[in-house]
């Protein structure tokens, strides 16, 4: 554990050194750190606070204010169910239920084997393909419960091939 914490600190330090120490860089720094580490561990937030010379609570406040930042590690595959208006009216909430049921996790969580993480997104702007699920950054259209099973099956087959 201590070793992992040290590594996070070191990695974070390497990433943030590319930025200036202005407060206005806080969000771009958080975005970059999350992009590289996959999430924002406590040690990373502390390191960023030190770097910008602001209280840790300010960093935590910003992290928890915005939907994009996550406090726990992501899964190997990210599942983002779109709950924009068009998706909702075409059954996005049913699709979300199907993902929850199949993965046995709630939104904002990661499966215990860290294969999948599930979350919702307000709108990805592909309203005409509703209901949309963004699977590993790739928006997929018309994802209904049977397609949820199909997507999971293709991941399973792919994993067996490896």
């Amino acid at each position: 554990m201590a070793k992992e914490q040290g590594k996070v600190k070191q990695e974070t330090g390497r990433i943030i050194n590319r930025f200036g120490r202005e407060r206005a860089n806080l969000i771009p720094i958080l975005q970059k750190v999350q992009e590289e580490l996959g999430y924002l561990p406590r040690e990373a937030m502390a390191e960023i606070a030190r770097f910008l010379d602001i209280p840790e609570i300010d960093v935590y406040g910003v992290v928890t204010f915005y939907n994009q930042f996550r406090l726990n590690p992501p899964g190997k595959h990210s599942i983002r169910v779109c709950l924009g208006t068009a998706c909702h009216m075409k059954g996005g909430y049913i699709t979300l239920d199907a993902w929850k049921r199949r993965l046995e996790i709630d939104r904002g969580q990661t499966t215990p084997d860290r294969e999948f993480d599930l979350d919702t997104v307000a709108c990805v702007g592909c309203c005409v393909m509703a209901p949309v699920t963004v699977v590993d950054e790739e928006p997929q259209g018309q994802v209904e419960p049977t397609k949820v099973d199909g997507i999971l099956l293709s991941f399973k087959l792919e994993k067996e091939k490896r």
């Binding site: 202005e22 206005a24 924009g84 049921r101 307000a122 709108c123 702007g125 309203c127 005409v128 393909m129």
Partner: protein, 635 residues
């Protein structure tokens, strides 16, 4: 090469334009030019697979044809779209192309001479073979200004934009005084397209006359309204049109630094804007002494982090400063004291995209379309239960009916129209009786909706109006930043009441409480999020009170949508019995056969009401039905 003396702005631009035109002519020399619509909507439909198939097939036949990834033409219902321009033919637009069709197009049309008419959507230009887009019924109502180039130029190649007349408006603006630029924008009557409709020219003037340095120009691309995707389409399909608008605005107000604020949920828009900024810098259209003038301006891209409230200008500025995006009290308005306390001009993506047309072609041409109080065009993102989903740009003053039924071709599957939701969480639901309303900023507000960011969701008879109000309240409640008490607690209270109603636990007096709370939240909130949050409730209560009453008094959802108030049932007489379509497809194994008679039975305890069985049941039997209230299911 050394130039003697300072060249004039005009001559530098002429040279840039000349080179861009040569570049474009080179494209025309190929056997055929292929364009694949690869904006996010096209990609979701499989455009990248089509792109790969085309490139692969071209290689197989040793064909050297340019393949361009373009943006969105607005015909999202037909994605993935491929446009092929071949000598001797008008550019032909193909719809719903998959990799197999793509390979056939290369083999049979480009290599052979068969234009594969079975896959055609339309053509661009008059001809004897394929119907011209201009002859489509919807073309009578559409008038493309800011969407004109979207889908027809390569958004990743600045020279396409320049060859089509891009950056000429900047060149023109630099040769007149900033005050004249502002006068032209004022004369056009352009109103901000972010939702509120504040006159853009006045905002510019305010910012120009404000004291303080440096000044900033911010492009608000934080299009957070669920159901709106106009800004995304423009940023992905024609990013330079927005950059040019910002440059002209910056010159007019005297700004030195600009920011484009784009939602993190739009990764492709982020990528294309970043590339566009780099290309503009390389040509000297951004940076120091632009086109040889005294005007210097630079633009940085800022990625939002997913907070709806940041679409509000003061919250957006807080976010740019590295703070949580909470709005602040106005006045002072950002035009006087904005980013870092300096005068800041914030305009929406669409507003800025109009600027090049106003400066380039004149204010009169712009104001020639639309109504007196709302000149120009309006862009809508049509989605939901409508045949032609996609983008529609129509003159202001067009009626809702024309947009939904003529441009959008009405409701699919023979269903009946119920309402159209305009303006997202700030807007409202308008019924059939409001369809003949001419669309402009003021008429929509009067009817209880709002222009908002241009989202237009069509709802049919299967959509529950209480549920849609609940959905929007859930959204605003979650996205409320928490600063104002009425917004923070009021939305929560309203959401709880609405949730109870959708579960059949509401009381009639709840409706009065809702209206009372709505007034309080509206009066007690600082920013647009809170002030408009009650709109979805008020508009549905105003036009669809009977639906609320059915939920409360009868425990019935008339649209058969609210999960707690419906049950799925298989009519034994209609069930084919030897067919197992529903059993196999049920995601929770809730369907079994009657032990003797073999018709299918749904275990109501297990059923999660996902509706898969209803879709799976072959249409010739149509045995699965929804019933409401659930007590309608026979024992």
């Amino acid at each position: 090469m050394k130039l003697s003396g300072q060249p004039k702005a005009g001559s530098i631009f002429d040279e840039i334009k000349r080179r861009a035109e040569i570049h474009r002519q080179e494209l025309g020399g190929a056997k055929a030019v292929i364009m694949v619509g690869a904006a996010t909507c096209g990609r979701a439909a499989g455009a990248l697979k089509v792109l790969r198939a085309i490139k692969d097939e071209l290689k197989k036949h040793n064909l050297d044809c340019p393949v361009l990834e373009v943006g969105c033409m607005g015909h999202c219902y037909a994605e993935p779209i491929v446009v092929i321009s071949k000598t001797g033919y008008p550019p032909i637009v193909y719809q719903q192309v998959n990799p197999v069709i793509a390979r056939r197009l290369v083999k049979e049309f480009i290599l052979g001479d068969d234009p594969c008419l079975e896959f055609v959507l339309g053509a661009l230009g008059e001809n004897e073979l394929v119907p011209d887009f201009a002859d489509f019924p919807r073309a009578r109502f559409e008038q493309k200004v800011i969407l004109k180039d979207c889908g027809f130029i390569d958004p990743e190649d600045i020279e396409h934009y320049i060859a089509g007349g891009g950056y000429s408006a900047l060149n023109k603006a630099l040769q007149i005084a900033p005050e004249e630029v502002i006068a032209e924008v004022k004369k056009s009557g352009l109103r901000g397209r972010g939702g509120a409709g504040f006159p853009a020219g006045e905002k510019w003037e305010l910012c120009r006359s404000a004291a303080g340095k440096p000044k900033y120009v911010i492009c608000n691309g934080d299009e957070g309204d669920p159901g709106a995707f106009v800004d995304r389409a423009i940023l992905e399909s024609n990013p330079h049109s927005v950059i040019e608008g910002m440059l002209v605005a910056a010159y007019a107000v005297g700004a030195q630094q600009g920011y484009i604020y784009v939602r993190a949920e739009y990764p492709l828009a982020v990528k294309r804007v970043r590339l566009a900024l780099r290309q503009a810098k390389k040509l000297g259209l951004l940076g120091k002494n632009i086109l040889g003038s005294d005007f210097s301006f630079d633009i940085k891209l800022f990625e939002g982090s997913g907070a709806f409230v940041c679409g509000e200008e003061s919250a957006l500025i807080a976010s740019l400063e590295g703070e949580a995006g909470t709005p602040s009290h106005r006045p002072p308005y950002p035009a006087e004291s904005g980013l870092n306390g300096k005068p800041t001009l914030i305009n929406n993506v669409k507003t800025l995209a109009y600027v090049r047309h106003i400066i380039g072609e004149g204010a009169d041409k712009f104001a020639g379309a639309g109504t007196k109080k709302s000149p120009g065009t309006a862009v809508f993102a049509l989605a939901g239960k409508v045949v032609n989903t996609g983008l529609a740009e129509v003159p202001m003053g067009t009626t809702l009916r024309q947009v939904v039924f003529d441009v959008g071709s009405g409701i699919p599957n023979g269903k009946g129209f119920k309402a159209v939701q305009i303006g997202g969480p700030s807007g409202g639901c308008l019924p059939e009786s409001a369809l003949d309303l001419p669309i402009d900023f003021d008429s929509l507000t009067g009817a209880g909706a709002m222009m908002g960011s241009g989202g237009m969701i069509v709802l049919d008879e299967d959509d529950c109006m209480v549920e849609i109000a609940r959905y929007f309240l859930e959204f605003t409640q979650r996205e409320s930043c928490g600063k104002c008490t009425f917004c923070r607690l009021g939305t929560k209270q309203m959401l709880e009441i609405l949730s109870d109603i959708t579960k059949g636990k509401g009381k009639l007096k709840d409706l009065d409480t809702l209206i009372e709370l709505a007034e309080d939240v509206r009066a007690g909130s600082l920013c647009g999020l809170g002030r408009t949050a009650p709109n979805p409730i008020l508009s549905t209560l105003r036009y669809f009170r009977d639906e609320y009453e059915a939920h409360i008094l009868e425990g019935r959802c008339p649209a058969l949508m609210c999960p707690e108030l419906i049950a799925f049932y298989i009519i034994p007489d209609k069930c084919e019995r030897s067919c197992d379509a529903c059993v196999g497809t049920c995601t929770v194994e809730a369907i079994s056969s009657h032990p003797k008679k073999r018709y299918k039975i749904i275990d109501q305890e297990k059923c999660v009401k996902c509706g898969t069985c209803l879709t799976a049941c072959p249409p010739q039997y149509n045995a699965v039905v929804k019933l409401s209230p659930p007590s309608e299911v026979p024992e």
